[in-house]
Each structure stands twice: as structure tokens, then as C-alpha cells.
Amino acid sequence: MYFPYFRGRMYELLALKELVADGKLSNSIIPIIEPIKLTSTFNNLLTTFDAADHKLAIVYNPEVGDLSDSSDGIELMDNNCVIPSILVNKSAISTVAALKSQGIQEKDILAVLNKRDFIETYQTLFDTDSPKYTIASKDRQILRKAKSPKVLFDDKFSKREKNADYLKEDDEFFSEDHLYYSEEGFEGFGDYSIIGNEYNEGGFAPRAVAIHIVYFAKNNELRIHHFVSDSNFDISDVAGKFNEAVLKLQKWYSSQSEIQLTYALQLLLNHAEEGTYPGLPTIKKLSMMHHMELIGKYLGGSKKG
């Protein structure tokens, strides 16, 4: 199983929704969403997952975004597709109590354990019943204490300060957890996809445009290639910068026979072909969809092909 973790930004929600609606999200993928706002896009996502009978995990005590300050967490969602989830932090105990008052048991809950200081909280909460899943950060102490079934979680995306910095090392190792998680006793693996852990609100016009494409190398490890624009002197002509980046992607794709094509990658290649510019959020969305589709194909269980 693969558990990608998202902060519920608009383009992330749209990516997941499109994948599920098109039957392109493998049943072996359970996205975890830490909602930042209860928007109509978020509600649509839940409806779409429900209609497709696809599981997703929703964090009830988010730490970032607009909902992070509300003391009583977000309202319980009466939806069969939702796995109620918590971050094991200082609000975990009250959040679990609130869930229990709604008839949800410890064994129904997905727990995200990423802070050493809250291992004790985790142990108190799940003393008798283990959580449905424990998302355990790659940290010796946490891994030792996490109960099965557990998920090996790590931030694999090494985020650079500026997009132009990806030019310095445009192809790098991404992950091999998918190769070993099972024999190491994990139920699954997880990461922040190509977004990374760092959360910041909004964006601003970049000097460089970067497209991050994950791919399987010959030995089946996952690598990531960064396609970055060259005219990075100022913030003008973002469409032109995108074109520079996507033409590099096109060239790379056609020179490597073993790169697996996905629906999202095809859309990016179409933009290269037609000289169109979809906008920065869509570029992120497509790169993310490509990653999900690729892992889905690897794990099998895709509903369509």
C-alpha cells in the first residue's frame, strides 16, 4: 500500500479527484489529507471518492492552514470512504475522545506518528487497541514504538530554496521504500509526493519554472528528474519559461525508451507539442498525478488498465 500525504491545497485535491474520477488511482493507494480549508473542492473530492468507493484518510486535527486553530477540529464527516485520522500531537487526546463519542473506535483510526515527544501519547491512546494504521516517520525511536500495521513514512522530496537551484542537480535518487517495505515488516510506505513537507500559504511569481517527474530506473529504484527553465533572470513571461522546461521534458522522454508513459505525462507532452501553457498550479497537479499513476501501476490494482 502507498500512503501519499497532502495538505489539501486546491491543485492537490483536483489531482486526486481527477485520478479517482478517471479510474486511474490504484486501490493500493490511500491518500492522507490534512485539510487546510473546508472548500467546495474538498467536499467534491469526498463525494467523488465515495462514489468510486475509494478510501482516503482525513486528518481531524490539522496543524497547518485555517483549520489548525479551531479547538474542536473539523466536523465529523459522515462518509464511508473516510478513514478518520489524527496527528499524534497535543490535541490528539481530545480529538480521539471526540471521535469516540461519535462511535469511532481506536482500531478504526489512522494515526500519524511523526514527533518523538508524543510517542507516550501514542502509547497511552493505543494501549489496548492498535490503530487501523500507524504512519511512522523514518526515525529509529518512532519505528521501534509504532504498532503494526505500520507504514514507513519519509519526506523524499529534497526541496530547494529556489526553482533555479534544481538546475544544479537535475536528476536524483527519490526512493526505494517500495522495494523493501514488505520484507521489513511494513504494511505500506508513504511520502509527501513531489511537494515536500514544508507548508507555505499561497505562492508568488517565480523566476524559474520547474517540472518534477518521478520515474523508475533500471534497478526499479525511483528517481526524480527536474526540468527547469533557463531564462530565470526575472519574473516576466512565465509561459515562455514553462515552454523551456517542458521542451526539456519532451526531449528527455523521447530519448529514454524505458520511461513509463502516464495520462498526466501525456498531457504535459501535449503542452510541449502544442505550445500551450496550463498555469503553474496545473503543472504541479500533473506532476503529482503522474507520480500517483506510476506508483499505482507498480503496485497493481488499478481499476482500468
Binding site: D234, S236, D237, A239, G240, N243, E274, G275, T276, Y277
Partner: protein, 291 residues
């Protein structure tokens, strides 16, 4: 600068006004009122803004104070708001111009309050001259000699730069103390002018001058339009730039006059005059009533 000074610098901003209008309260506003205003509960928001502004004028003339004084002098005293537009924080090349005034021509004002430094002055001025032909420095009276000496070191370019001084009694355009800017076209650049413009604006220019917009793939649109723009003789291109930028801020004289002097530049530049009735209501409300 101390923290207290910093908070007071944030008072005349879109954010504070917007918080007051939308939420009825603003953390920054409350903080500054607590520190600087006596008996605020008996005063209206308008009186409080005015009081804070005048205390800025006495011992902490920050960039807002300079900018606001300049805007009032130019748009009330010298030019009419009907024919003149002022813009602030305009990206030109690698720098951001504090204040650009547009009527028949474009004039850039670089504000150097007592709190500013002069390290980047040469590069700032050079970038401003890549789009506009007249550039001036507005400094405090204490810095007049320093500015004059610095500009001398900039050669021809420095000669062309105007100097204005914000005197102790808030005059700027005193004939005896100021030097008018001269037209200087050595650094004018089609590329830098073009990059100031928004898509709709450069399309207007290309359409106006050539009768059509280049028909290319979307990702080449910017470059194709820039190429056409470069075909326009540079002073004509500059004139198009000024005409387009003038359209960015439309305000009537009545509206402008209805804004209290102290708040004019924040309201004007953030275009909050669109909410003028609500703003006026707020200014007449007692501070205590909002609590």
C-alpha cells in the same frame, strides 16, 4: 529602529484599513493606539489616524510620510487628479520605484527618508531611466548635501537627476532648494518598458500601433509581442507605456478630496476609494464603540 517604530510604520497600510473595515478591529491599530494615543475611547478612528500621522511628522518621518506628502503636493497642488496618475511600488528592471507620476510624461521619485540607505542609489536610478526619462530623489533636508555629492559621482546620469527636499515644515517644491530633473534617454530599454506592462496593456499597444496582435502559440505570445514592441521607436514606445499606465488608477477629484489628507496615499494606492462610504463611516465612528 525599535519595534515600536516598526508597528507605527504599519499603521498606514491597506491591511490595517481592511481589517478595520471588515473585522471592525486590527491588532496593529490597537497596539499603536495603546502606545501613542491618550484617551482613545473618546476619539473617532479619523481623529486617531490624524493624531498618529502628526506624531510621525514630528519625530519619525517614515517613507509613508514622505510618500503621502508628495502625493498631496503633486495631485492637489500641482496637477489635477483628472489628468495625472500616480503609482507606487512599480517594478522597473531589477528595482522597485517608490513613486511614479504620470501625466504627459512619466516621472520617477526615489524617496530617501532619514531611515533609508543610499547604497543602491546608482543602480536604482539607472533602472528607472530604462523606462522613464525623468528621475528625482526626494530626501530629507539633512541629506541634501550628501545626495548632491553622490549624484555628482554618477556623471551625466547624475546631472539629469532632480533633487527635492522635504523641509521641516513639509514643503517639497521650493524653488530655492530644489533642482528640476532633466530629460535623460541614454538607458531607455524596450525590454524593461515592456516588462512593466500587463498582458492586456501590451496587447492594447501592439493592437493600436500595428492593427493586429501576433498569431503565435500561447507560450510564444510574450516574446512575439515584445519583438513587435521593439519595432516601435523608443520615445513613441515610452509614450504608449505612459498612456497605458495612466489607466491603472482612476479616481475622481471629489473622491480624492473626500479622503482625509493623512490617509490619501494608502487609500489611493490600494484603490480603497472604491469603499469610500464605508471608510468614511469608520472614520467617524468612535474607537470605543468598536470594542
Amino acid at each position: 529602529m525599535t519595534n515600536n517604530n516598526r508597528a507605527i510604520n504599519l499603521i498606514f497600510t491597506r491591511r490595517v484599513l481592511n481589517d478595520l473595515l471588515v473585522n471592525g478591529t486590527s491588532e496593529v491599530f490597537n497596539y499603536v493606539v495603546q502606545r501613542y494615543v491618550n484617551d482613545p475611547q473618546d476619539k473617532t478612528h479619523g481623529q486617531i489616524f490624524s493624531e498618529i500621522y502628526h506624531s510621525l511628522g514630528e519625530d519619525n518621518r517614515n517613507e509613508y510620510y514622505y510618500m503621502n506628502t508628495l502625493l498631496n503636493k503633486l495631485l492637489v497642488g500641482i496637477h489635477s487628479v483628472h489628468t495625472t496618475t500616480a503609482l507606487s511600488q512599480l517594478h522597473i528592471g531589477q528595482h522597485i520605484a517608490d513613486f511614479v507620476m504620470l501625466n504627459g510624461e512619466g516621472k520617477v521619485y526615489e524617496i530617501k527618508s532619514d531611515l533609508d540607505n543610499f547604497d543602491r542609489l546608482h543602480d536604482q536610478i539607472q533602472d528607472y531611466f530604462s523606462a522613464f526619462s525623468k528621475v528625482s530623489v526626494l530626501a530629507s533636508i539633512h541629506e541634501y548635501d550628501r545626495v548632491q555629492k553622490l549624484l555628482k559621482d554618477f556623471g551625466d546620469m547624475g546631472e539629469a537627476v532632480g533633487i527635492y527636499v522635504l523641509s521641516e515644515d513639509d514643503t517639497i517644491f521650493s524653488k530655492s532648494r530644489s533642482k528640476e530633473p532633466q530629460q535623460y534617454n541614454e538607458y531607455l530599454s524596450h525590454t524593461n518598458m515592456f516588462k512593466i506592462l500587463r498582458k492586456k496593456e501590451y496587447e492594447n499597444i501592439i493592437l493600436d500601433h500595428f492593427g493586429e496582435i501576433p498569431d503565435v502559440k500561447p507560450v510564444f505570445h510574450f516574446k512575439a509581442c515584445l519583438k513587435k514592441f521593439e519595432e516601435i521607436p523608443i520615445l513613441e514606445a515610452q509614450n504608449y507605456l505612459v498612456q497605458e499606465l495612466k489607466k491603472r488608477n482612476k479616481i475622481t477629484r471629489v473622491m480624492f478630496n473626500d479622503i482625509p489628507t493623512e490617509l490619501r496615499s494608502v487609500v489611493y494606492f490600494s484603490q480603497m476609494y472604491r469603499k469610500l462610504p464605508q471608510l468614511q463611516e469608520l472614520l467617524q465612528t468612535n474607537y470605543a464603540e468598536e470594542k
